[in-house]
Symmetry: D2
Subunit: 481 residues, 4 copies
């Protein structure tokens, strides 16, 4: 047991035979051979291989306190700033392996499970709460190197602030029965990324709920009876790495998770029907700190990839002399350095919480989470503007394999590149920013941290402004009320 | 003869058997049946049908001064402001029929041919110029209702300002021989929209050329020997109107036009090897005025479509109460009204040129052309932001036809819409802004008028500022030097 | 009687002896000689002179239907599009005379009085309403060429949406008594521009009021007993036109209007204590249409002045070759042309209201009012950026009159200007954008039309979107609910 | 000797009797009593007092290696990261004392002198270079705690890139003679902040020069014969701290420095007529690193002051519940945290240069210098927008001392503040963003680091992009040329 390799990940996944619906058909056969899922599964398997690669194993794992086996480092509870830096370096390795393009590499949710479990004692003695289940579950997940999808939000039927669901049949997933064996859940949850492609589904209600039936936290195997994953349309452009360098590898799929009277056994229930806990647990826990720590690390690696693409583009068509090009690339550089500086600051300003966990500073992380959703769409715009019509002139791999290759070689050559290399460069720029895959990435990064308006209010409210107010009042010699 | 209907357009096109290369294969069989071209050809045919529809014929055509037949109105030379308004109403009808989504409806290039021909006398008596060919050609095109693609730019090998091509084999299309029969052209030109899907290819060199071999203006049938159209990858998502409401209809294709020692017969040559004419003709002619007049009209109709989509989205998920939504939609409204006001002003301030053509005012049109490329990407961003995750949750038509339809009906319902209608709405929003088709549209509108930097300098230089300078000097009582 | 000249205006104003407080002192002596008010009063007098100037009288006045005298044209009720254009040309003359810098030239409030009076019949038969007073008052104002200040808003004590004033002493002006002689008003109103420098104060409650005591509409002479004008700090930099070319002429002053148990005689009361009327009257009337018509006209003239300043700056230090300069000036040009186009559209789309008044189209005007508050601060930024450090190096007129003049002449010369002229140019740029006067202008234009958030919601709600929604539903073949 | 106190600073300054011209008059009498300079001199004196204050002396000084006296810490050469942090804490103390509002507190130029002197060995053996003079001068300045103004740029006669001065009389300061006693300089230099208010004038030519007569580096006492300071118009609003809380204290004045055949003695010359040195010295030295380190520290403190003002404003009129207010303040918070993170990163990534000086990382500092000039104008805009009309309604201190105080108390009260305190708050917001002083601050911060366009190109060119290019080429399996 302990950290798995790619083959183990694939075998385990194939054996689950999760119920996945794609384009109106139930997915049959080996998941790892399915044209829509194969690319991602291979990239993910490569991540698992990396953690057991002798050159990386020390950086990627830690020794289980229980079994003595090497365990994926994202499961490690950080108790010092060095632990945080060690975790961050592990995130970096996986992110670099995927150029920051895999939004839900396993470290993200491993971190989430670990973060919640680390604050399990908050649930102690509270109604309908089972902290010991959470701790046990974390240990099991860690030792088996389970991987997860999760789903935080309910269907977006009606976004008015005055709307309360009163449908007879549940729409948002709800507890419809509480039995000796566990909770029975019916209804749906939205946008599980990699839904159906993981061992487990982690479900947790956070925030304010007006209906306690919608309050629960649990994790169940993806092949639990009654659990269905309905995929959105795929954004994979095809399997050719030439034509679709990114989507052929990193299309992660999002799905609607349908609970058709799913039984959640008691030992998998962490809490239920306790609105106060749902409201408070997440902010009590180190979830935000530790999860954003992973996310920002990945986003930085992705930004480095974008900077590289920008510079390769520039060299390809020889536009490095123009001042407006300098201006645009400087924007990417400034964004990159800003994100790096904030990440470092979050680590350097980290502090121990009441559960003994070292939390990276939430202020620097929140600022980074407000910053990146503005940067990323601008980066894609910069790539598009620098590419001009070149990002439209996109012949396919087949064209290069055909008798018109000579024409392409002649007419599509770049200043410093052959036509084939030049087309590869522009297809990458296109797949990053203009393919269905690329635009989904933009939307994903834009909304990763949720509704920006809520985030902004929370930063405003929580930021310590008192000293600055005091200084101004002193300067003006006025009362500070 | 005169204005054709859809069937005539299709038949003529099928008979040409143009040499088109797509994904490494030569296109065979009837073009109008090809899955990648069928949608567009049908939409275009519908435009031709509309002009002969008894309810529209009067608005869409004028009577040929030669044959007495009805002729497509975009071929009419405007000699009064009423003529301009009549032309604009004709553009509007075609734009509305295609929701402004067909960038190169035939009226655009019909207008171009007419505009150049109207200033043919500028070529009179100049070296290597054949004004009578241009006039004759215009009349023929008008009477036969020919439709066109064109190509203005050379391959983008190296965009440094210090680059001059010195390849042995031509890259940019060049005159490689001048014979008794005509010019022989070899090399390529970039991005002919609808290249291969039209009767004719119109080629014209405008601007400064360092090599007179690259200077020519002519039109030849698309099936001329040696002429090849190499398509980019298709951005059609599929043929289902449910899944791909826009790309299944309006994907126009762009192609590289390869001239493999193509002979251009003398009666089709308008000028050649006269750099001064290449530099001056376009600005002497009413081309910019009349072409932008058509473009702005179409862009306004497209903006109305976008406004409609925004409002349908709002109603679908009931977000009309939020002030930030009001702000975003107001941006669309302001953009729309601004474009309308500028178009009207251009018409009202029109004036007769030395060739007797009524030109809409170039200042108002230029301002509109500087404005829309900034508005359009913002509109797509607004649609994306208002849609949030809804624009990602996109099941396919097949899913609605399968046994999981009940789940979709339940979990994807909107506030005011069934799940199916809601998905249709979001798929439209997605196809407009996030599919490969949609993002190509964004790039297309952003660069329609060419390099924005050059445009800006030209507006700065040509705008009459003297009176305002004089006023300031008078106010300050300083000398006006 | 009828239109007055500058001297009549000044005499009448001096005779009023309004109670004005400035910098803790009551203003004594002739207002027209006071250093803080003199400049503005002279500029205003020049406007009155212009309307009787034989070269302009026809353009600036119309013949009174009652007295046969020439009357200021801003008092004329427009009944045709030609009337609107005539009014606009009159606005233009006054705006040009003051380079658009006088925010409250008399035509603005003349127009307001006329607009309200034109819809007086709306008040007919409603409680506490006196339409005949309003009509009579309008006629009197028109025949005497009265000029006005007004005040729309109450003191900004607390801007929470949950705040209701419950002070014992009134803060916001209120009706504290209703007597046989009239209403007695106590409390204050905010920001009367030119408060104390006009014949009359026009006060009107518009919008929702929770306290009917705050609802009233009336006009009283500025020297009414108990009426006090408390000036803000002056933003006049000094009286030298060299040093302060704008503030020495156009500083209009804003004041708090204090009502110290002021008696408003019945014949001056237009309505009171009728919340419904306060809410509806303004939108029933043509006030917005006709007032914005004047404002946009002035803002266009101001923009022309700014464009002139930008170009003079460019010539002074010879920066016209830079592409980023072209970009910035093009922004001003685009803004100018957009405003002009919207104004023209508003006139061309005008329609007759139920009171027989020709109203310029509110949609185009509203879009212009949303546009200018964004343009203007950007214009000032452009001027600052183009000026760089030159806008800081500002010697005074005295320096040029002193023995160091030779140094200044040598070291501050411009590319095309003497040092003196160059300094004049930069001082103007500075007074427009960076002096206390200039920044007040920016704030004034930014908030001229009130809270932009409210304006945006109103544009969203009132804009006719139905047809566009219908088109989209038809395209998608979905139900339009 | 060693660090001086405020009194010593004032006495020394008064004794110099520098030739300063203000508003056409030569300044006579004690500088420290002059209404225009008094405020700043007092604030500066307070800084000198602080460094000898027993509570601060340890943080503010270090022990002279020569004299054993305490020396101002900004003169200390940093040789470790701890030294850098010690320097930064010293900067912070002075910045906090002046709320970041004194752009040229003495530490800025002390740092510059120290930085240049630290790389003096670069000048070793080069033509017309006197490294020993520079080192000696630094030691003398350090031991005497001299303070400086400096001037980097020549008069902005003509900013065309094709302009070369060919005036007979020098405009830009030039060497007109080289004598046994030293260099003779004639001409002018622009914008010496605090010019005339310091012990010394430090003059250095950096960058490319086409005329070697314009190349020199030296420092001379401010009262050197032939040296004249011509002040711009003052931006002090008055001496009342109530009315002008900032300009009455922090107006630093900028002046043109005129050299009227000024003799620079040889022992004060660091180099001359060596164009190559002028081009290279600054980048060889740690000047940028160490100077920007000081500047960013001050800008952070200023941003904290702005955040405090924003929050006090919000409380004063109770607008803290609005989401658009949260958004705006969050922008300030994000800016503040970003600057802090970059400063920390610059320190943490510092490295020793070839001269043994610990340099904070230039990349992080450059990014901060590109960031702040965009942030600062936006901050001022945010303050203006949040203040709305409140920032215009500004009675004076005299008004509160007069008989109308009761009216002000009643009508200008704030939600949580008396009228007087509320007016103080708004006057501060106004003086920061809208007074002549405040707008000069905006221009100052916008251009502190020079032409942003040049800065952007330098960041683009120097940033290490190779690894990212390599990664992209590897991903695409293309050649990296």
């Amino acid at each position: 047991m302990g950290a798995i390799n790619g083959k183990e990940y694939i075998n385990r996944l194939n054996q689950l035979k999760n119920e996945i619906w794609l384009d109106g058909k139930k997915v049959e056969g080996l998941l790892s051979e399915h044209p829509v899922f194969k690319g991602l599964i291979q990239e993910k398997a490569a991540l698992y291989d990396l953690q057991l690669d002798p050159h990386y194993i020390e950086a990627m794992t830690f020794i289980s306190p229980e079994s003595g086996d090497p365990i994926g480092l994202s499961y490690m509870q950080p108790r010092s700033i060095d632990d945080l830096k060690r975790r961050r370096k592990m995130f970096e390795q996986w992110a670099k392996k995927t150029y920051g393009m895999m939004g839900r590499s396993p470290d993200y949710l491993n971190t989430a499970i670990m973060a919640f479990a680390s604050s399990a004692s908050f649930l102690e003695g509270k109604e309908n709460c089972f902290p010991e289940n959470l701790v046990q579950f974390y240990k099991m997940a860690r030792e088996k190197d389970l991987n997860f999808t999760h789903t935080f939000i309910s269907p977006q039927v009606n976004r008015s602030q005055f709307y309360f669901e009163d449908s007879k049949e549940p729409i948002a997933a709800k507890i419809v029965d509480v039995t000796d064996d566990g909770l029975v859940i019916k209804g749906a949850r939205l946008l599980a990324t990699q839904g159906g492609l993981t061992d487990e589904v982690f479900v947790i209600s956070i925030g304010k709920f007006f209906n306690e039936d919608e309050v629960f936290a649990f994790s169940i195997p993806s092949n639990t009876k009654g659990l269905k994953f309905i995929c959105r349309d795929t954004f994979i452009g095809g399997t050719s790495h030439f034509d679709h360098p990114l989507s052929s590898r990193y299309e992660e799929m999002d799905s609607i998770v349908v609970f058709d009277n799913v039984l959640v056994p008691w030992d998998r229930v962490f809490y239920y029907k306790n609105g106060e806990v749902a409201e408070k647990f997440i902010n009590q826990s180190a979830f935000h700190n530790l999860a954003i720590h992973q996310v920002i690390t990945r986003q930085i690696v992705k930004t480095e990839f974008i900077l590289g693409i920008a510079q390769v583009l520039i060299e390809t068509i020889n536009i490095g002399e123009y001042q407006h090009i300098h201006e645009k690339v400087s924007e990417i550089i400034c964004g990159l350095e800003t994100m790096k500086a904030l990440l470092e600051k979050a680590e350097n300003d980290a502090s121990i919480d009441e559960y003994g966990i070292m939390r990276p500073d939430i202020t620097a992380l929140s600022v980074a989470s407000l910053t990146f959703p503005k940067l990323y769409p601008r980066f894609t715009e910069i790539i598009q503007i620098m590419s001009a019509s070149g990002i439209i002139t996109l012949p396919t791999e087949n064209a290069f394999l055909s008798e018109i290759r000579h024409d392409l070689d002649q007419y599509l050559q770049g200043a410093t590149k052959s036509a084939e290399d030049r087309v590869k460069v522009f297809r990458l720029a296109w797949d990053l920013t203009m393919s269905s895959f690329g635009t989904r990435e933009t939307q994903y990064e834009r909304y990763f941290f949720g509704d920006p308006i809520r985030l902004v209010s929370s930063v405003y409210k929580s930021y310590p402004k008192e000293q600055y107010v005091k200084d101004v009042c002193k300067f003006l010699q006025i009362e500070n009320i």
